[in-house]
């Protein structure tokens, strides 16, 4: 007879080998992204066809730069979690899976750094 609790037996047995943190972060970022992406869509629509100077003026306002920074970081966290779920679901060999999971993270870091540096350069 095993003294393991039923919970401990199944912990870490899913495709991602981890628990509810992934699920919860996905939901928290999803809720945050509802107002943020509406703000983003409305802002971009107003800037369609605008001159570069209009775009610069828009992002030189601290509120717009700040919201854009928060939007980018939140969406990239949401993206990493979502793509990780796709990889966990469809890739079943360890080597390819680890490589793709690392690539997923690296992609988010590169895009995030590029966006934030660009915003910083516009703001300064």
């Amino acid at each position: 007879m095993s003294l393991e609790t039923p919970l401990h037996k199944v912990q870490g047995m899913g495709a991602a080998h981890s628990g509810t943190q992934h699920f919860w972060r996905q939901r928290v970022t999803a809720v945050a992204l509802i107002p943020l992406s509406i703000w983003f869509a409305v802002s971009v629509l107003q800037l369609v066809g605008a001159q570069e100077v209009d775009v610069l003026t828009f992002f030189q306002h601290p509120l717009n730069a700040g919201l854009m920074g928060i939007f980018v970081v939140t969406l990239l966290i949401h993206m990493v979690l979502g793509l990780q779920m796709v990889i966990d679901d469809y890739v079943h060999t360890d080597g390819a899976k680890i490589a793709l999971l690392l690539l997923n993270r690296a992609f988010a870091w590169v895009v995030g750094a590029a966006c934030l540096l660009a915003l910083l350069k516009i703001a300064i």
Binding site: A41, L45, V48, F107, A118
Partner: protein, 135 residues
């Protein structure tokens, strides 16, 4: 056994001839639009870098965005964002226990598809009228 008619037992669904329930279609489309939007973050980064880099880089981006292929990509991006946002709200409602019964899920699925298409069209009509986009 030999007398038994073919197809008298249930056959497993074959994707090419199977009538997709709307919930199945919205489920896989949610994942597909999520992946498309991930690729779309490159467009966002490109736009911000171009604006930060000066008039020439920005003009290159504007020209590519305003050519027909660029507009098609942007339309896909706008529709994907609208769909993923609306269907994401539907998923959050399910997480809270609302609307998970089949008739309601079917109705909200059709609602999400319809609204996402309307929003994408409305965004482009607005962009053509007020922005620099040309057909």
């Amino acid at each position: 056994m030999a007398d038994q008619k073919p197809h008298s037992r249930p056959l497993s669904p074959h994707l090419q001839i199977y009538r997709w329930p709307v919930t199945m279609a919205t489920s896989i489309t949610h994942r597909a639009t999520g992946m498309a939007l991930s690729a779309g973050t490159l467009l966002l980064a490109w736009w911000l870098i171009a604006a930060a880099s000066g008039p020439e880089a920005f003009a290159t981006f504007q020209n590519l965005a305003a050519n027909p292929l660029g507009e098609l990509v942007l339309l896909g991006f706008v529709w994907s964002l609208a769909f993923h946002l609306l269907n994401g709200i539907r998923h959050l409602a399910w997480d809270l226990g609302y609307g998970f019964d089949v008739p309601t899920a079917n109705k909200t699925g059709i609602l999400v598809i319809t609204l996402s298409v309307l929003i994408a069209i409305a965004a482009f009509v607005f962009a053509y009228k007020h922005g620099g986009l040309h057909l």
